[in-house]
Subunit: 135 residues, 2 copies
Amino acid sequence: MSQRNTRVTVQVVNADACPVREVLDRVSGKWSVQILVAAAHGPIRFTELERSIEGISRRMLTLTLRNLERDGLITRTVHPTVPPKVEYELTPVARELHETLQRLTNWAERNRVYIAESRAAYDEEHRPDGAGADA
Amino acid sequence: MSQRNTRVTVQVVNADACPVREVLDRVSGKWSVQILVAAAHGPIRFTELERSIEGISRRMLTLTLRNLERDGLITRTVHPTVPPKVEYELTPVARELHETLQRLTNWAERNRVYIAESRAAYDEEHRPDGAGADA
DNA sequence: CGGCATCCCGCTAGATACTG
DNA sequence: CAGTATCTAGCGGGATGCCG
């Protein structure tokens, strides 16, 4: 019992060293991914983004855009015309991310029904009404 | 059919039309992914999870576990022994998700430096000190 | 057109304490 | 060992208003 402790396999998933958290932090915002998706088709203007993403506010659009720009995921191009025109475009790095994101989307679509049913079953089973077994 | 005017004024589209949000909601929690990763190696006990995920609280571990179980992503097996023993394991669906997640992780690892540099450059450029060009 | 500032609220998650 | 309950802070993000 001197040197051999019982914890054999417990590999620490340290948050600091965990790239999973890295990417999640990049994507965790409510609107980040939708912006990436909306901008994936090519350069897009501020107002176009605003209109294509239902429910987003100017504020959140700006903030999220700034963050994505800061992370080098989108470029911001200002055209100094009289009606201001600003175009946003994905960087190559963001395009790679977008491809990966699409795999996630595919997963979601494939298993959407399964998840919904799981939820329903779980909720049913945990009803306060006491429908634990069956009726 | 005549009075189909159910005022579903909810402009939010319920995430039904947006699979991106679907998967993000599933993964958005601060600890969800790390739990999935930690449990990916095989059945794992509550305390093992708690120790392998640095910084997680009992509360959040339980809550996140419950949500993952509810979504059908993990199974919870209670062994009615005298010291209680509960094992958690990924469902097949979650294993698929985990694979996809690993692609995300790969992306993060590949571009971690790029992102860090982008951030540094952005922060430098937007310093209140006015170091816009160069020194 | 594009964007920033302010106020405000709800949700997430941390700390702490108790239980079967 | 494996949870549950409460209380609270912090932050994301919605609403609104003003500016280049």
